[in-house]
Symmetry: C2
Subunit: 431 residues, 2 copies
């Protein structure tokens, strides 16, 4: 299909939506990708590029001549153009920017200067801003003749001569007003502007909290510099959620298009951290070697205590990390949540103490062993609850991401406490 019949390939792909075209490109082999794009020529949908996975996107962009990339960038909305450029290396960026007309170049360069993952990177800089003394009619006429407007927009902004933001007018408000009405009289000044340096996570939170569809972005001087729309925020939310999930699973920073070796390296780091904690737990066990030699049943049962503690700790930690991410957990309710989690830990500790004491008694016929494992269970599930809530809160207070590191610390605590309580009590009570 690919090698010969260009006309047919064109016919098949011309009507695809950009997201579907992007999927197609990803399925092809690298050489075929360039061929397909060449075959489409001017009809290649620029909008397919931002839909590609990072690795594929960079490969495709590097294979395209800078002139063609520059042309593609001009077809895109400004936020998408920045998205394409930001991952390329500095030299490629320079080559491409050099081919752009002056205004586009300046605008893109400025956007690229904002920190990664900031509002400045996801905002759209094409927008409509009018002075408050214009009439509705004037504004509509201006919009009819203006070129280089964004593809879609939902509100226009009202600014003073220095481009300070005064307010906004939703398009439906504009449509429903008579032509002589002044913009000033229909301006909504109750805005929630976003600072251009704000982190995208913060932007998403604002959108969620206030159910925004679009929000203006301002710089330190309160000048209007861009606008962020809810469809960009949908992607930010999805991205941040993925980051947290992967970080909690010990696979932070991983991407599906990484090589086997890269993936091995990333996971190795996390597994190595886990090895250290596992050795720590083993050291605790080795203190009680003599005790275990006298009663091997201890070796049989000890993983149960550790595993239950690890799971209970993970439960509390998961709730805490998520609540911190969604800001449901903060200074105001931290103490209440700590007490609550401790109570849950203690209750489940008591329940499983009874269950495990009974199992140990029937399995090994020793009521003392039952007592030991029961008490160890209460101690460890209580410790798990405390570690599960205090460690994420502590990391957050130290400005570290609780999603990344909490897991290692929590299981270290539950392993060490679990083995120490179980074997220590056994050494004290059984002999």
């Amino acid at each position: 299909l690919e090698a010969d019949d260009i006309a047919r390939v064109r016919a098949l792909t011309l009507d695809l939506h950009e997201a579907d075209l992007a999927d197609l490109i990803q399925l092809l082999r690298p050489e075929e990708r360039a061929e397909l794009i060449a075959a489409l020529g001017e009809d290649f949908k620029a909008a397919a590029l931002p839909e590609l996975d990072e690795a594929v996107r960079d490969q495709v962009l590097e294979d395209m001549p800078p002139e063609q990339v520059a042309e593609v960038l001009q077809q895109l909305d400004s936020d998408e153009a920045v998205y394409l450029l930001e991952d390329l290396d500095k030299d490629d960026q320079k080559d491409i920017l050099a081919k752009l007309p002056y205004f586009e170049r300046i605008a893109l360069q400025r956007s690229l200067e904002y920190p990664e993952d900031s509002a400045g990177r996801i905002m759209q800089t094409d927008l409509i801003a009018v002075p408050p003394f214009w009439s509705v009619g004037q504004t509509i006429d201006y919009m009819r003749v203006a070129e280089d407007l964004p593809d879609r927009f939902y509100e226009i902004f009202v600014v003073d001569p220095a481009y300070h933001l005064i307010g906004s007018v939703a398009l439906n408000r504009l449509l429903r007003s008579k032509r002589p009405t002044t913009i000033e009289s229909i301006t909504d000044e109750d805005l929630r502007p976003i600072m251009v340096e704000a982190d995208q996570e913060e932007v998403a939170r604002q959108f969620e909290r206030y159910n925004l569809t679009s929000a203006p972005v301002i710089d330190e001087d309160k000048r209007l510099v861009g606008v962020i729309t809810a469809d960009d925020v949908v992607e930010v939310v999805q991205e941040e959620a993925s980051e947290d999930i992967l970080a909690m699973g010990g696979v932070g920073g991983e991407s599906v298009s990484d090589t086997v070796w890269e993936t091995t390296r990333l996971r190795f780091t996390w597994l190595f951290a886990n090895l250290i904690t596992a050795i720590l737990a083993s050291l605790v066990i080795s203190v009680f070697e003599a005790t275990i030699e006298e009663m091997v049943a201890l070796a049989v049962l000890m993983p149960i205590v550790a595993s239950m503690g690890g799971n209970a700790g993970t439960q509390t930690m998961t709730v805490a990390v998520r609540a911190l991410a969604t800001q449901d957990l903060g200074r105001v309710n931290a103490v209440r949540v700590i007490i609550r989690e401790s109570a849950v830990g203690l209750l489940n500790g008591l329940l499983f103490a009874v269950i495990m004491a009974a199992i140990a008694y029937f399995w090994f016929g020793s009521d003392e062993l039952g007592l030991v494992i029961g008490v160890a269970m209460v101690v460890n599930l209580f410790a798990a609850a405390l570690a599960g809530i205090l460690i994420p809160l502590g990391l957050e207070a130290l400005d570290l991401d609780p999603a990344i590191a909490s897991g290692v610390f929590v299981t270290t605590v539950t392993d060490v406490v679990g083995f120490f309580a179980f074997l220590g009590l056994a050494a004290l009570w059984l002999f």
Copy 2:
């Protein structure tokens, strides 16, 4: 503050944004909530209600007389009204619906009939639909006089006389066209309508994939029944991500406002499942009691093998579960991902085999023990990789949610394989 000075309370709260007012209500004690709402009377912002947590919301709604609730519902957009009603019990719903005017009642009843978490529940039913033969001028005049329009909207829809969806016109397109232009000529027919029965997760995926800001919702007869906007989708995405994160941490279905007892019960179930798997692992250990008695070093080292396997399995599983949720993993690339994960598992297995063999050798001075733990490590990390990818894929194929159950199965595999490989090899080679 609360008990006496109503005027002051009013002055302080009147200007709050609804999201902030909702936060304030949540911080109050239950009795105070009703007092505050009574004090605000007609000025109470209805829009604050959907922002409340479920438990608080239901309590507030149950304390309000049905007439007042009915009034509040009429002030809200239709999707928010459904959101408030859906969690109340049937009797309360009936009481409240009975107080509503006919049309509102019918519309809300119909929305409540759609399945939970479906597009029908999150869509907005107030929308503007016009016939294709109208002119732009006619449409604008209609919008100027029409009442009961949604607060904000971004496009109008074009329908035939039977209300079948033909296309949409973005407001900016409408604004930029001259009054005599027919709607037909500016209609965008390239729509991605959403079926009213579609799951909200599917809706979010469509929005993300095609960068939608709003999308029409149609019923089985292709009739236009509502519209979904991106700000609703932001909340769906956040909600689904929370669900997955909590499910993977073994705390699915939990909410911050649950009681201690309810939380204990939910977590107990998961911990109990974990207990069964831990006992299974203990049974494996008990098979080798005699071996351990001869060499206690085995008891010291065996948790390391199990813990490394558990973590490696969790890593692979996390990547797999997330990729399934975002549809980055499917039939097309399943085999490739399985091979990839196996390779990573094998590589890390070899690396940690060398490391652990060296540690065991120096710690216990036995090169045979080093060999045993090394081989056990390779076997277990390879098994972990296979379990981590195959179990989520299997659950997905059985139409079960891989986020909920994968964890238990994966750690069962890694515990059992880990202990069996380590102790079994020790029994074979060391004595």
